[in-house]
């Protein structure tokens, strides 16, 4: 059709203005005759162009979606021009607790406390308040304690595409325990079940 902007412009515009990070599939569904693979290729081309002209922006993939973001090198200036400050970085306790939940989800508070050897009530509240973890259900057994899991926001917060981006650790079997699913499988099961 005459007058239609190039695909790269369309993809760029969609990624810029979408309500939330669109996936390749979502982008492809908006353009007739274009596949997810074509979208991914277009994004690669866009990023090369940005780099070539020294742009302060780039397209990154987080939580299975694409975002147009500022380059980290420009961080100091962007922070300076923005009115709102960043919330404080997470404490070591919060990072450790988040790590345990990410790998062992769904997991109860007691199980987390067993692994870390300390109480986690305050830390759990912090992580919940920041939207990094959520209650995913209840465990069987006495008291039916709450089960926790990580959220999509957890992924964007740490700039991860998925839980599989987390380091496997020295020996992945030890970390995951016998017969438990890997962080990626857990995440898939949870996000699919949650919709």
């Amino acid at each position: 059709m005459a007058g239609s902007p190039p695909l790269s412009a369309i993809v760029e515009a969609m990624i810029f203005a979408a309500d939330r990070p669109p996936s390749a599939r979502q982008l492809a569904s908006q353009v007739e005759g274009i596949s997810s693979a074509a979208i991914r290729q277009t994004i690669e081309v866009l990023n090369r162009e940005y780099k070539a002209r020294g742009s302060g922006l780039e397209i990154v993939e987080v939580a299975q979606g694409y975002r147009l973001v500022t380059r980290p090198e420009c961080g100091p200036w962007v922070k300076a021009i923005r009115a709102s400050g960043l919330p404080p970085p997470l404490s070591q306790a919060a990072l450790e607790t988040g790590a345990v939940i990410a790998y062992r989800q769904p997991v109860t508070r007691a199980q987390i406390e067993e692994i870390r050897g300390v109480q986690v009530e305050t830390v759990l509240r912090t992580l919940l308040d920041r939207g990094l973890i959520r209650v995913v259900g209840r465990a069987e057994g006495p008291g039916r304690p709450l089960l926790y899991g990580t959220t999509d926001r957890f992924l964007t917060y740490f700039g991860l595409r998925s839980l599989e981006d987390l380091p496997p650790g020295r020996e992945i079997e030890d970390l995951l325990g016998e017969g438990e699913a890997g962080p990626g499988e857990m995440a898939r099961a949870l996000t699919e079940g949650g919709s």
């Binding site: 810029f16 939330r20 990070p21 990154v60 987080v62 939580a63 975002r67 147009l68 973001v69 500022t70 380059r71 980290p72 961080g75 962007v78 923005r82 709102s84 960043l86 919330p87 970085p89 997470l90 070591q92 306790a93 990072l95 450790e96 988040g98 790590a99 990410a102 790998y103 067993e114 692994i115 870390r116 050897g117 300390v118 109480q119 919940l128 308040d129 920041r130 939207g131 959520r134 209650v135 995913v136 259900g137 959220t151 999509d152 926001r153 964007t156 917060y157 740490f158 700039g159 991860l160 987390l166 380091p167 650790g169 020295r170 020996e171 030890d174 970390l175 996000t191 949650g194 919709s195």
Partner: protein, 243 residues
């Protein structure tokens, strides 16, 4: 070892033990229980005063270590005596080793997460920080609102009620769940919406607040009402549905 030791530097007893083992290059697969127990206790003795709630965890570990040390010294037949087998998380040096190794791996992951967080804090999305705001998540929901957010909102209502002094003593109205359900359903018909806090307006008594909340949950379960929280951590709306 005269330096000021500060327990706050350690995330807990496991962190401390790990430090003692690693810094002295002890073999974690053959932990010398007697030696590590002595060092741990010496450390605790020298440590600055710790806040009460955190100190407990360190002392529990001290007790565990002393128990392990004692068991090593006793001949095997004597230890499992009179069936006072309380459930112990760490009953052998192997248990301790397993717990320490497991914790160490999560510490490593936490380190990676911390670095990832640092990098992510340098990156910003359109108009707002992509890391902290506006990301819609697939929350576990009661209706369309997360359990935690709902409970938080309810606790806020309860707190507010506590602070308001009763204007006048109304006669003790019996609060009945079925009646409350009916009242709410009548008040919020199909297409009507009110704010969560509005639902509890005028109520001061704890019992009344709780029964009303339970009635709300029941109506959501039955499908007469739905909940919505368009802004993360924002107002929760109670919306009537056509049956």
């Amino acid at each position: 070892m005269d330096y000021q030791v500060r327990l706050e530097l350690y995330e807990g007893p496991l962190d401390l033990l790990l430090h003692l083992i690693r810094s002295r290059e002890l073999d974690i697969y053959e932990i010398p229980i007697a030696e590590i127990t002595d060092q741990y206790l010496a450390f605790l003795a020298q440590a600055d005063a710790l806040s009460l709630d955190r100190a407990g965890e360190f002392f529990l570990m001290a007790a565990t270590l002393m128990r392990l040390k004692a068991r090593q010294l006793l001949p095997r037949s004597e230890e499992l005596g009179d069936g006072e087998e309380e459930e112990e998380l760490i009953s052998t040096p192997e248990d301790l080793q397993a717990r320490l190794l497991e914790y160490e791996q999560f510490k490593e992951v936490a380190q990676h997460l911390g670095e990832a967080e640092g990098r992510a804090r340098e990156v910003f999305g359109r108009g707002y920080n992509l890391n902290f705001l506006g990301e819609e998540t697939l929350e576990d929901r009661i209706g369309d609102v997360g359990l935690y957010e709902l409970m938080k909102a309810f606790f806020q209502v309860m707190e507010r009620a506590k602070r308001e002094p009763p204007v006048h003593e109304v006669e003790q109205v019996e609060v009945n769940l079925e009646e409350r359900i009916r009242l709410i359903r009548d008040r919020i018909g199909a297409g009507t919406r009110i704010a969560f806090s509005e639902l509890f307006e005028g109520m001061v008594r704890r019992l009344e607040l709780i029964v009303t909340f339970v009635a709300l949950l029941e109506l959501v379960r039955l499908g007469s009402l739905r909940l919505d929280q368009p802004e993360p951590m924002g107002e929760i709306w109670v919306i009537g549905k056509a049956q």
